[in-house]
Every structure is written in C-alpha cells, then in structure tokens.
C-alpha cells in the first residue's frame, strides 16, 4: 500500500472510531487494542499497532464514559499514535531498533487524546442546538426531523474525528520526522526505560480499579502469587 493510501485510510479510520466511541453503533472498534491493531495493519506494522494499542488499552480502562464527564479521546489518540510511530520507523534505523518511534507514538497518542477531550466538549455543546431544533420541529409535527438530526449528529462526529486525525497526524509526523532526522536515539533510550514503567503503571491502575473490596483483593493477590510461582518454576 502506498503512503498516500495509508494516510487516507488512517484518516477515514479515525472518523470511524470517533463515531463508534459514542455516536454510532458502539461496537467497541474504538477500544485502543482494536483500533491500534487495525491502524498498524494499514501501515504494514501490525505488531507495532498491537504493542501501542495494548499499552493505551490499559490506560483507557481507567476512563469510564459515564455521565457528563468528557473522556480522553483515546480512540483517535491511538490511531494517530500508531500511524506516527509507523511513519517514524523508517526514519532512523538505530532509534527504531531501540523502540524510539514507539515512545514518540505513545507521546502523540496521549497529547491527541487529551486535546481531543476539548473537541468532544465542543461537539456536545454544538449538539445542544441540534437537539433544540429537533424539539421545535417535532412540536410542529415534523417526524422526519428526528432522523435528520440523528444522522447529522453521526456525520458531525465522523467529520470531526477525521479532521482531528488528519491535523494531529500531520503535526506529529512533521515534528517527529524533524526530531528523528536529527537523531532519535534519546527516544530509543527513553523507550527502554519507559516501556516497563508504562506497562506496569497501566496494569497497576487497572488492578487498583478491580480490587475494591476485601474479597476481590484476596482473589487478586492469591492469583498473582500463584501465577508468579508458575512462571518462576515452569520448565524452560
């Protein structure tokens, strides 16, 4: 696949996962492990997509899409992070061998997810106007207004997801290439240190959420001791 085709498909995929995360279907295509794997496959780097997707999945499990709290935009963040890491893989072979593009990809994903939260807030406020318009039309006896409003909402979410993916991807690819051309070895070194901490923090935070209550805590720690013993003493 050419780079142009991969960029185009990535941008469309960014729109799909943005819509899937709330507005349309909610099939969980927007879960980081799923959208990271697909993005990696689009760029011919499925393993890279799985690695970043898995780390971001652990962090995103701490986000509950409940009530009015705007969640971090992990779906678009993952798509952008994986695509940027895939682009940078070919820039500096030494840094790539050490995992430098992965660290820059995670950085891009977190920044995109955090900034994307403001876009979600903007979208939700914009939907207030659409909802008021729908109510007025319903009161006037226009039943079709509901369909039009709903599909407009999906289209707006999809378009915003595509636009944000395109913008963040161009920005991070440009900055990343400039940094890696000057030598991305620091990123490679940082990945060697950062990867175990990110994995550890991610799963630690998930375990914290799942071990509320004495019974859950006892089950978790017993299972952990058992699994550690099995891994230590399994025949090599």
């Amino acid at each position: 696949m050419t780079t142009q085709a991969a960029v185009l498909l990535t941008v469309v995929w960014g729109g799909v996962v943005a819509a899937d995360s709330a507005a349309f279907l909610q099939l969980l295509l927007s879960q980081p492990f799923v959208c990271g794997t697909v993005t990696g496959a689009l760029w011919g780097h499925t393993a890279l997509g799985c690695e970043l997707g898995a780390i971001l999945q652990l962090f995103s499990l701490g986000v509950l899409p409940v009530g009015g709290r705007p969640p971090e935009d992990f779906p678009v963040g993952t798509v952008v992070g994986v695509a940027v890491a895939a682009i940078l893989t070919g820039v500096d072979p030494v840094a790539s061998a050490q995992g430098g593009p992965l660290l820059f990809g995670v950085l891009a994903a977190f920044v995109t997810a955090l900034v994307g939260r403001s876009l979600l807030v903007w979208l939700r406020h914009r939907n207030e106007g659409l909802a008021r318009w729908t109510e007025t039309r319903l009161a006037d006896g226009d039943l079709g207004a509901l369909d039009r409003a709903q599909w407009a909402g999906v289209a707006l979410t999809f378009a915003l997801g595509m636009a944000w993916t395109a913008l963040a991807l161009s920005l991070f690819a440009f900055v990343g290439e400039a940094l890696f051309r000057g030598g991305g070895v620091a990123f490679g070194r940082a990945w060697q240190t950062g990867s175990p901490i990110l994995w550890g923090f991610g799963i630690g935070s998930v375990a914290r959420g799942l071990t509320r209550g004495n019974r859950a805590r006892i089950v978790f720690w017993t299972a952990l001791v058992g699994f550690m013993a099995l891994r230590l003493w399994q025949p090599s």
């Binding site: 709330a22 349309f24 950085l107 006896g141 620091a186 550890g200």
Partner: protein, 273 residues
Amino acid sequence: MSEPGVWTPEATPEPAIAPPAPRLLPARTLWAMFGRLMLLQAVWNYERMQGIGFAHALAPAARRLAKDDAEAARSLVPQAGYFNTHPVMAAVAVGVVADQLERRARGETALDDAGILRVKQALGSSLAAMGDPLFWNAVRPLLALTAVYGWRDDRSWLGALTIVAGYNTFALGYRLRGLFQGYARGLAYVAQLARRLGPMTAGLRTVAGVIAALVVSTVLLPAGGGSAAQAILSVTGVALGLMFFGAARLGPGEWGLAIVLVVLAWATLAPGF
C-alpha cells in the same frame, strides 16, 4: 343441592378471565426500534443527554399508535427531554415506555405524559446503576485484559477480535432481549433484573481480577526473560499504578503523558545512566 337464599361456593359464578389484550406493536416495529437504538447517542449533549436518541428509538412505536406522522411527532416531544442511562440498558427503558404508551393508547391505564416521564427518569438511573458496573467495569475490562494477555504472552493480535466479538455477542443480545422483554413484560421485567445482574457483575469482575493478576505476572516476569533493571522498573510502575492512580485527581491521559515526559527528560539529561 343448596337451599334457596343460602350462599354456597357453588352458587357463585366463576369470574371470567379476560383474554389478554392483543398487542398493537408487531415484531417488525420492535426490530425497527432495535435498529434505531444503535444511534442512541448520536446527538448526545449536556442538556438532554440521550433524550433525542430515546425519542428517535421510540418513533416507530409512536407512529404505529398515532393517527398520522404529525400526531406521532407531537407525542414524542416529551420523550425528547432529558434521559441518560447505559446505552445497552436503554433498550429496556425504550421497551417499557413503548408498553406504557400502548396501554395508554388502549385506554387501559390512566397514565399521562408526566407519569410516563417519571417512569422513564426512574428507569434511566436504575438501569444505569446496573449497566455501568456490568458493561464498563466488568465485561469491558475482562475482554480487554484477555486481549492484552494474549499479546503479552503469545504476541497474538486475535485479542482485537475477542474484544469486538465478545462484547457484541453480549451487548447486542442484551439490547435485543431488553427491548422485547421490556415491551412484553413492562416494569415487571425491570424488577427482577437487579437480582440477576448483580451476581453476574460480581462474578465477571472477579474473573477480570484474576486475568489482571495474570497480566501483572507477565509484566513482572516477561516470557523471554528480562534484565534486573527492567524488572525494577516494572515493579515501580505496578506499585505506582496500584497506589496512586486516581488519587491525585489526574486522569489516565495525564498520568501517561507525565510518565513519557519524565522518562524522555531522564534519557536526554542523563544518557549514560
């Protein structure tokens, strides 16, 4: 033989059991409502949250019960107001409200718009209290952790399929069942949901906790072995996550960004360490 003027049980005629009233909404209408539930949050906003999506899902029923489109549209205005619950469990609320609208159309109950709205609001919060822990805190982590474990231990990308297929088998099945049962049995269906879903949620969370322990073991002792420095860093990460996540008002995105920036600064400023 009973004496005249003396009451005996045999003398009382058996009360006739009224045949159940025929349902006004055919399966076709319910399937149309099911399809529309996929767009429940399309116009999610801070004022009405899922209100417009709720009215949109209810529209096929309203159209069936009203004389024409205009009357159906006007009957949906109250339904487009504030509503929020877990998106899967919303199917139950849509089914129950469709049942109530049908009863009102048949003149069975004295329910007015305000009464139906009160039922809808009560359903929203009680269904959210069941659906959020089940889907967001049990099913989603269980499937996601299974996928992550598959990647950590076996380098398998098939976890992506596990998440999508596993969640949708459960969620689509529950949406369908919730809508049809909510319509068929009304509020009686909701009454027994908590009894069933509570133990299921607790069981799934326990299993998710065990899989979390499995993933922690693969992080601390990776399959190919690892250096002592990496083991120390992994233990530090797990300990930080277990002790401090959620404690400092930082979301997961802020924590992740902070960790990346700290290790990047460390690698840049102390390259020989």
